[in-house]
C-alpha cells in the first residue's frame, strides 16, 4: 500500500506560501501522492488551483483530487482543468470525482442538487468518451491509459458508476473496517459489471499530530453541516504516531492500494511528524 498526504487547501487561513512549502516538502518525503479536497462555501483554495501551484514546485509526487465535486463544474471545464493540471505536472495527475455531500455548494454554484448522481454519470461518460473528440487539449485520455479516474460514494448507484467509468474507488474515510466493507462492495460492483481485474482502492484519514484539539475543532467546523457526524469524524482524527501506524496497518490489511492522510492544521510540523512516523 502506498501512503499519500493531503494539502491543507481546505484549512482556513492556509496561505499560498505555506501551501507551496507543504507541497515541496511532501515531494521530498515518503509520500506517493499529494491530494486535495473540494469545497465551495468555505475558506479554502480551489482544488485544481492548489494542485497547479503544487505541480510547479514538485517533480516526483503524484497529484490527486480526493475528491472533486464533479457536477459543480461543467464537463468541458472540468476536463480542461484536469488536463491542465496533468500538463503542468508532466502527467502526474489522478482525477477523483464524486457528488459531494453539501447542498449549499450546489446552491452556490447554481447547480441542481437533486439530479447530481445522473449529472456525475454524464460527466464521467463525457470524460471517457466525448472528450476525445471535443477538441479540448492538451489531449490526454481519461482512464487507465491517461489521467486515472477514481469515483467515490457509498450508494449502489455510485459504485456502479465507479465500475462503469472509473479505474478505482475513492473511499470517504472512517476506520479500517468501514473501508474494508466499502471495498468489498466496490469489488462486487466491478465484478457485477464484468470489468476484468480489480479497481484501485483508495482510502483516506485525518491527522492532527501536533495540536489534537485544534485539529478536531477544524473537523467539527468543516463537517458542521453533517450535524451529529461532525463529532464522530473529529473523534476519528489520528493524534499520535501509534494511531497513524495502526491505521496504516489496518488499511493495508483491508486491501487498500493508496491511503491519503489529510492534515487538519496548516502546520508544516505535522507534515514532518507524519513523514517521520511513516519512515
Amino acid at each position: 500500500m502506498k501512503v499519500g498526504i493531503g494539502l491543507p487547501n481546505t484549512v482556513p487561513g492556509c496561505d499560498g506560501a505555506t501551501l507551496v512549502e507543504w507541497a515541496r516538502r511532501a515531494d521530498g518525503g515518503p509520500f506517493s501522492t499529494l491530494a486535495v479536497l473540494d469545497r465551495v462555501r468555505y475558506d479554502s483554495v480551489e482544488p485544481f488551483a492548489a494542485l497547479s501551484a503544487a505541480a510547479a514546485v514538485t517533480s516526483r509526487i503524484g497529484l490527486a483530487t480526493m475528491i472533486a465535486i464533479g457536477p459543480l463544474r461543467g464537463a468541458a471545464m472540468l476536463a480542461k482543468q484536469a488536463v491542465s493540471v496533468d500538463a503542468l505536472s508532466g502527467g502526474r495527475f489522478t482525477l477523483g470525482l464524486a457528488v459531494g455531500a453539501r447542498l449549499d455548494d450546489y446552491d452556490a454554484a447554481g447547480v441542481d442538487h437533486r439530479t447530481r448522481g445522473a449529472a456525475l454519470s454524464t460527466q464521467l461518460a463525457y470524460l471517457r468518451g466525448e472528450f476525445d473528440s471535443a477538441g479540448i487539449g492538451p489531449v490526454v485520455p481519461f482512464g487507465a491509459k491517461g489521467i486515472g479516474l477514481l469515483v467515490g460514494g457509498t450508494s449502489g448507484a455510485a459504485l456502479a458508476r465507479m465500475a462503469r467509468y472509473g479505474d478505482g474507488y475513492a473511499h470517504g474515510g472512517g476506520p479500517p473496517r468501514a473501508f474494508g466493507s466499502a471495498a468489498t462492495k466496490a469489488l462486487a460492483a466491478w465484478r457485477d459489471l464484468g470489468r476484468p481485474g480489480a479497481p484501485a482502492l483508495w482510502g483516506q484519514g485525518y491527522i492532527a499530530l501536533g495540536d489534537a484539539e485544534r485539529g478536531r475543532d477544524y473537523l467539527r467546523d468543516y463537517y458542521a453541516f453533517t450535524g451529529p457526524f461532525a463529532e464522530k469524524i473529529a473523534a476519528g482524527a489520528l493524534t499520535s504516531v501509534r494511531e497513524v501506524k495502526d491505521f496504516v496497518r489496518g488499511y493495508a490489511d483491508e486491501g487498500c492500494d493508496e491511503l491519503i492522510l489529510f492534515p487538519t492544521v496548516a502546520d508544516l510540523d505535522d507534515l514532518d511528524r507524519l513523514a517521520e512516523a511513516l519512515s
Binding site: 448522481g117 445522473a118 454519470s121 454524464t122 461518460a125 463525457y126 471517457r128 468518451g129 466525448e130 476525445d132 473528440s133 482512464g143 487507465a144 491509459k145 450508494s155 449502489g156 448507484a157 459504485l159 456502479a160 465500475a163 462503469r164 467509468y165 472509473g166 476506520p175 473496517r177 468501514a178 466493507s181 468489498t184 462492495k185 466496490a186 469489488l187 462486487a188 460492483a189 465484478r191 457485477d192 459489471l193 464484468g194 470489468r195 476484468p196 481485474g197 450535524g227 451529529p228 457526524f229 463529532e231 464522530k232 473529529a234 473523534a235 476519528g236
Partner: protein, 684 residues
C-alpha cells in the same frame, strides 16, 4: 454527574448499576410497576456473558445462576422432529432479570422511581432515553426510521418445560404458522407464534379477542404442547418495529438499547445489545471528562456492531416471512436452511458445532434419500448435479475466467464462455466474438463441461471493450447501428437504437436459433441465452426500455424474448440456461414479483436453469452490492418459480457455495475466488 435514565428495562437498569459503581448520581424513571413487564423469557449467547461478568460480577452470578441452559435446536416440520446439537443457549425470565437488576441498582443507591410516565425531559447533566422500541424521546428529538419487519407475532408463555430451542411449523388451511419456543426457568417456556400478515387475516386473528387467539394457538400447536396451556402476559398480536437511527445522541440526551435500535427477535439479541450498550456508555463516560466526546465514542463503538446484528436480523426476519416457500424441502435441508438463515452461521460453522448433522446433510445432498446410514460424502459443492440428461460434476461455475482450460483445472464443473454475439450488430464491442472460440475437447479433458452465452447487445452495443470501461460508445466512425425494443439509448452519449421492426425481429430470432445450432455442432454442453443486463432481449422485458404499443409491448413485453427462447429450444438439444434479470432495481422498472413469474414462464418454455441476475436494465439504477447480494433473489426465484438456479453475486469462498447450495438457495454458484496463487500462501 447527575444522570436521569428514562425506562427501567434491561438497558436502563444495567446502566444505572454501572454508573452508580462509577459514583454518579442516578435516578431511573419507569412508567410501570416494578413487577409489571411484557414478554416472557429472553435468550442470551455465550459471548455476551463474558462482557457481563467483567462489567458487574455480582449480577453476572445471579443471572447465570437462574439460567435455563440447553444445547440443541429442535425443528418440528411435517410430522418429523429434527434435532441439531452443539449450540449453547441460555435464557432467563425477563421479569426475573429485571428484578435482579432492580435489586442491585437499588442496593448500589440508584433512585428507582416506578409509576412515573416521563413526558418532559428531566433536568440532569445526562439524560438517558432507555425507553424501548417505541421511545417517546427518540420520536420527539431524533431522526429515526421505524418500519414493521417480518411477520405478525404474539409472545406467549407456556407451562410446558422444553429441553431445547424449538421451532414448530404448522400448515393450516389459512397458510403456514410457526412457533419459536425455548425454556427459561424450571416451570415455564417462551412460546412465540408467528405467521405472514395475509395468513393472520385469513385465520381471522385480526378480529379475535385475546382469549380466542390463545385458544386458536393452543389448538394449532396442541400436539407440541401435549396438553399444556399457553399463557398471556399482555400478549397481543404485533408487528415487530425495525428501528434505525442515524445518530444516538444530541446535546446531553443519549439513546440506549431498543430506543436506539432493534434487532428482530428471531435472532434473540435485543437484550444482549441493550446491556452491551450500557457497558459501552459507562466505559466511554469513564474515559472522557468531556460529555460530547464520551457520547461520540459510545456511538462509534456500538454502531458497527449494531449494524451487523441488524443485517443478520433482517435476513432472519425475511426468512421467517417466506418459510411457506420451503415446505417442499426434505427435512434435513429445511433444517439447514433454517439454521443458516441469518448469514451468521455457515456450513463450516455448523460442521464444527454439529458434525453429525452436517455429515447427514452432505450425504443426503450427494445421494438423496437413497443414502446409506453412516455414509460420508464430500462437501455439497462437490455433489454432482443432474439437470435433464446433463450431469455437472460439481456446483462450481467459472465465468469471465480468461482461459477456459485453466478454469476447468481450477475445479469448476462448468466453464461458461462467451458472450458470443449472434450477429455483427449484436456485438458489445468490436472484439465480441461471433462464434465460440473455445476448444471443447480440451475443457472436457480437464474435467469440465463447456457453457456458452449467446447474446445480442441491443442498446448496449458498439462500445469499447470492458477492460476500458463499460458502455462507453465507440466513435461514430467505428460504431455500427444499434437495434433495441424501443428507441431508448442506454446511457449518456450512447447511440439511440432503432426500434426493431418485424423484419429485424424475425432476423434476430433466426440469428439466435442459428447460433444455437452452430454451438450444438461445436459440442458445447450448456447454452445460456441472454435475457439479462439490459441487452436486446432483456430490453423487451423491462417497462423502462420497452415502450412498444404493438404485440411485443405493454402487457406482451415477455412475448418476443419467449419466442426467441422457443426458437432456440427447438434446435438446442442439451442443457439450456436462461440468464435472466429478475428485478431492474429501479422503482418503476420490472420488480421481483414479476421476475419470479417470468422465471416460471421461462421454465415452462423449456429452460432447464435460470441464471439469476438483477439491475443493469438502465444505466442509473439502485443496486445493493455486498458479498452474496444476489443470493436472496436466487432463493426466491428457485423456490417460488420452481426452477433450478445459478447465482453469482460476488461469492468468494467455497464455504459460501456449500451453504447456498445445501440450503437450497441455488443449485450452482459462480465463484469469484481471490486470485491467490500458491506463492501468496507459501512465501518461501
Amino acid at each position: 454527574m447527575k444522570v436521569a435514565i428514562i425506562g427501567a428495562g434491561p438497558a436502563g437498569l444495567y446502566l444505572a448499576i454501572l454508573l452508580r459503581k462509577a459514583g454518579h448520581e442516578v435516578s431511573v424513571l419507569e412508567r410501570n410497576a416494578p413487577d409489571a413487564t411484557f414478554g416472557w423469557g429472553v435468550v442470551f449467547s455465550e459471548e455476551t456473558l463474558g462482557a457481563l461478568r467483567d462489567a458487574d460480577p455480582a449480577t453476572h452470578l445471579e443471572i447465570t445462576d437462574s439460567f435455563a441452559r440447553w444445547s440443541s435446536v429442535d425443528i418440528r416440520y411435517q410430522g418429523k422432529l429434527l434435532r441439531s446439537r452443539g449450540h449453547s443457549f441460555s435464557a432467563i425470565a425477563r421479569k426475573h432479570l429485571l428484578s435482579i437488576l432492580q435489586r442491585r441498582a437499588a442496593e448500589l443507591g440508584a433512585d428507582l422511581r416506578f409509576g412515573v410516565e416521563v413526558d418532559e425531559l428531566p433536568e440532569a447533566d445526562l439524560v438517558v432515553a432507555a425507553d424501548g422500541a417505541n421511545s417517546r424521546v427518540r420520536t420527539r428529538d431524533f431522526r429515526a426510521s421505524v418500519k414493521p419487519q417480518g411477520c405478525k407475532y404474539v409472545w406467549f408463555g407456556t407451562d410446558l418445560v422444553l429441553d431445547s430451542f424449538t421451532f414448530s411449523f404448522k400448515e393450516t388451511e389459512f397458510g403456514l404458522f410457526q412457533a419459536h419456543a425455548y425454556p427459561f426457568d424450571e416451570n415455564t417456556s417462551t412460546w412465540i407464534v408467528e405467521c405472514a400478515e395475509p395468513v393472520w387475516r385469513r385465520a381471522g386473528l385480526d378480529t379475535m379477542s385475546e382469549t380466542e387467539s390463545i385458544a386458536f394457538c393452543e389448538k394449532l400447536f396442541a400436539d407440541d404442547l401435549g396438553g399444556h396451556r399457553l399463557m398471556s402476559n399482555r400478549s397481543l398480536w404485533l408487528d415487530f418495529p425495525l428501528v434505525r437511527c442515524a445518530s444516538w445522541h444530541r446535546g446531553n440526551v443519549v439513546l440506549l438499547g431498543d430506543a436506539a435500535h432493534t434487532a428482530h427477535f428471531s435472532i434473540g439479541s435485543g437484550t444482549k445489545l441493550a446491556m452491551e450498550d450500557a457497558i459501552a456508555l459507562a466505559t466511554a463516560l469513564a474515559r472522557h471528562s468531556d460529555l460530547g466526546a464520551a457520547l461520540t465514542e459510545y456511538e462509534l463503538d456500538r454502531q458497527p456492531m449494531v449494524e451487523r446484528f441488524q443485517q443478520a436480523a433482517g435476513e432472519s426476519a425475511a426468512y421467517f416471512g417466506r418459510t411457506a416457500t420451503y415446505t417442499g424441502f426434505e427435512p434435513v435441508q429445511f433444517a439447514f436452511n433454517l439454521l443458516t438463515r441469518s448469514g451468521r452461521v455457515s456450513h463450516t460453522n455448523l460442521a464444527q458445532r454439529d458434525p453429525d448433522l452436517i455429515r447427514v446433510l452432505d450425504a443426503w445432498f450427494a445421494a438423496g434419500t437413497s443414502m446409506v446410514p453412516g455414509a460420508v460424502a464430500p462437501a455439497p459443492l462437490f455433489a454432482p448435479l443432474r439437470l435433464g440428461s446433463t450431469t455437472l460434476t460439481n456446483r462450481l461455475v467459472a465465468e469471465d475466467a480468461g482461459d477456459p482450460v485453466r478454469a476447468a483445472q481450477a475445479g469448476a464443473g462448468l466453464v461458461m464462455t462467451g458472450p458470443v454475439a449472434v450477429s455483427p450488430e449484436g456485438r458489445i464491442c468490436p472484439d465480441t466474438p461471433l462464434t465460440a472460440e473455445v476448444s471443447v475437447d480440451d475443457v472436457h479433458q480437464a474435467g469440465a463441461l463447456v457453457g456458452l452465452r449467446l447474446t445480442h447487445a441491443g442498446a448496449r452495443g458498439a462500445t469499447r471493450p470492458p477492460a476500458d470501461g463499460l458502455d462507453i460508445p465507440l466513435p461514430p466512425t467505428q460504431a455500427w447501428p444499434l437495434l433495441a425494443a424501443s428507441s431508448v439509448s442506454f446511457g449518456p452519449f450512447a447511440q439511440t437504437p432503432k426500434a426493431m421492426d418485424a423484419g429485424d425481429l424475425a432476423a434476430a430470432r433466426q440469428a439466435f436459433a442459428d447460433a444455437a445450432t452452430t454451438a450444438a455442432d461445436a459440442g458445447v454442453d450448456v447454452l445460456e441465452l441472454d435475457l439479462a443486463d439490459g441487452h436486446l432481449l432483456a430490453g423487451f422485458l423491462s417497462p423502462l426500455t420497452n415502450r412498444r404499443d404493438d404485440e411485443w409491448g405493454g402487457e406482451h413485453r415477455w412475448a418476443y424474448p419467449l419466442s426467441v427462447l422457443d426458437a432456440v429450444r427447438e434446435v438446442w438439444p442439451r442443457l439450456l440456461s436462461v440468464r435472466l434479470t429478475v428485478t431492474d432495481w429501479v422503482p418503476k422498472g420490472l420488480g421481483l414479483p414479476e421476475g419470479i413469474r417470468l422465471a416460471k414462464a421461462v421454465r415452462e418454455h423449456g429452460a432447464d436453469l435460470v441464471h439469476v441476475r438483477a439491475g443493469q436494465s438502465v444505466a442509473e439504477a439502485r443496486p445493493e452490492f455486498r458479498r452474496g447480494y444476489l443470493t436472496t433473489l436466487s432463493d426466491q426465484v428457485r423456490n417460488q418459480a420452481g426452477v433450478p438456479t445459478l447465482v453469482g453475486g460476488y461469492l468468494t469462498t467455497p464455504d459460501e457455495v456449500n451453504t447456498i447450495v445445501a440450503a437450497g438457495r441455488a443449485d450452482l454458484c459462480v465463484l469469484t475466488p481471490q486470485p491467490s496463487p500458491i506463492e501468496a500462501v507459501v512465501l518461501s
